[in-house]
Assembly symmetry: C2
Homo-oligomer: 433 residues x 2
Amino acid sequence: MNKLLIRGATILTMEGPDAIIDTGEILIEDGWITHVGLPGSASGSFDMDEVIEADGQVAMPGFINCHTHAAMTLLRGYADDLPLMKWLSEKIWPFEGRMTGEDIYWGTMLACLEMIKSGTTCFGDMYDHMHDVARAVENTGMRAMLSRGMIGVLPTGEKALADAEELAKNWNGKADGRITVMLGPHAPYTCPPEYLDKVMNLAAKFKLGINIHVAETLAEVEEIKKQYGKTPVQHLDSLGLFKFPVLAAHCVHLDEQDMEILAQKAMGIAYNPQSNMKLASGIAPVARLLELGATVGIGTDGTASNNNLDMLEELRTGSYLQKVSTMNPEVIPAYRALQMATIDGALCMGLGDRVGLIKEGMRADIILIDTTEPHMCPRHNLVANIAYAANASDVRTVIIDGKVVMLDRVVLTIDEERVMYEVRERAERLAGK
Amino acid sequence: MNKLLIRGATILTMEGPDAIIDTGEILIEDGWITHVGLPGSASGSFDMDEVIEADGQVAMPGFINCHTHAAMTLLRGYADDLPLMKWLSEKIWPFEGRMTGEDIYWGTMLACLEMIKSGTTCFGDMYDHMHDVARAVENTGMRAMLSRGMIGVLPTGEKALADAEELAKNWNGKADGRITVMLGPHAPYTCPPEYLDKVMNLAAKFKLGINIHVAETLAEVEEIKKQYGKTPVQHLDSLGLFKFPVLAAHCVHLDEQDMEILAQKAMGIAYNPQSNMKLASGIAPVARLLELGATVGIGTDGTASNNNLDMLEELRTGSYLQKVSTMNPEVIPAYRALQMATIDGALCMGLGDRVGLIKEGMRADIILIDTTEPHMCPRHNLVANIAYAANASDVRTVIIDGKVVMLDRVVLTIDEERVMYEVRERAERLAGK
């Protein structure tokens, strides 16, 4: 049995606003959190395989990025500040059309590297060549929910379904259980009802959840209304999609009935504030969704529309954006924002019984955040300092599934130089330079 | 004569989107930028007092934070997620009422430390005990525009005017010219017309600009309209305030006429996106102001409403917020956001002939940003990488007025531990713990 002890840290368990241990210790055995308590309370602390001294640091659950397209790191900065359709048709799609599985492997490796260095331990992905994405997840030690993006209106629609089935068979529960699989029909406007039927059959057959973009833009809502006489959410509901565990990404343009459906029937909603702002898609009514009892996690979306995978930046902007859009400074307070970026993100992907809390019985996805930098001083409120003042480089150490993947900012599972070299070369080729 | 050479960096001069030197060198003599050019082009490079090798880094003008209350670092995290009046009257004002000059000195020291570590070289401040703020600016090597906050409706209104006059006499142009002074009447709703008359007399006598909060909240606009029958901007215009160089902070709630007045008559506008979002004040119509030709800089506001002084975070959120609020992804593109955070900020404070560009004849306020971290890879677009993906810790080296104040993340002018110790102790005392 492998035993790892973290001691000296302030523990933000995320089990509740008061569930903070000022100085404590966390025992991890074979990847399971087996004890969380005061100093010296872990039994057998003499026979540890590894001890991390974490004085002056905060231990909290790793961030969970509910919605991204990891390999799009290859496109970071390739096209910005453009209208959506021009951005997609002239820049993003042609570039993506040139990407190979190997490109996607290296793009995902870079994303995993960036995520680890900014404290993200688990991400939800939707893309192509998912076998290569899975390889990157396996190699880097990350945790991920993977879904093959499926576009029913394309000639490749059937192949995408077959790929998704392959992905589920080959990778669901693999990499020591760090990989789970969902089905990824892209969106209601790219997947007609008969295609979604096939998706639902597959979901039933393999007991899989469904990861789908919903109501991201006004144009989508108008198109779906025109075609089906219903909003995207009500259209999907009438097709029976919500009988399955659904993670709905974006959900920017909703009416009250949409929100009630999502609150009652969706497994989770992925809120992507920076992407929605940068693409000028709109502001998701997250404060209202939370009021109705919805489970909302936070996603960065891909780095073509963000342009980084920094969850601290994302949860902060997400909170501030809700305050200003509702004209109410009390919505999504600091602790709530951290919950959305941890346990609620886990719940959104069906992983709430496994990660998102520092609690006995959970797998150990834990980050250590340095609190000694000037921007975290003074310490009137630790939670506010993390949610509203910390930055990505304050994350010093990252543990995923009980394994130390970054120790004092040195990533142990990835050859950083090699990954960046590969991505630079491939990005140049793909851009046609 | 002191000669400093920076070589090997990519130089983002901010003189225009194409004014980027791929690998170049910058010669600084006695604090003046005397040469910007290709490698080996600086004459006499053999007799340098100091050479900074900056391969793999980007040299750009330091960030200019147009609006803050630096000493409010003491209040970071002290009160968050509250309605404005409760926040002010129950938390902020009582805390501030207990602050001494020495507290303000140390709070400002911490702010300067944080600003230097995040690449800010110049800030615009409005607060009390400005002599102590000036001491901190002098000691840390920062550049600052300082203004004594003046509230005409308080019994201390007259003293504030006297303090402001003292500040101008003692500190304008001091600290080797790094300190300039403006007058700081707090806002139209706290400074009645007869008080603003006194301010304008002082401004005329000492040839000073005026730094004032304008139209930050809807409540203010309604109150001013009720009292004077005009919007805050039109009220100030009718009083003749814009005959002086005015830096107007916030400007959230404006009508078209207000915007025209500001575009034509104000020296500058300080846009504080994160503070306006967090306090739920509203979204300043910056895209429209820019269209009308206004000069708009970026401010963080104080850390009680932010909660950090990170200008990269601020300029990014500022750009994204304008895109989503105008439903136009093309407004404030990456380069424009960087301009607002550098040269336009300088112009807002009457310093546009001195700093904000890397250009011969300017004072050397320069930062070096590391571009080798995963979140800056690949490099399709350097400007987008900085504006949309970089974080504060990527700033490695900071030069202010030709002096190296941070070298490879070691701040040379400040005893970090001492400053944080003082602030922690004082913050606890002030919070009544």
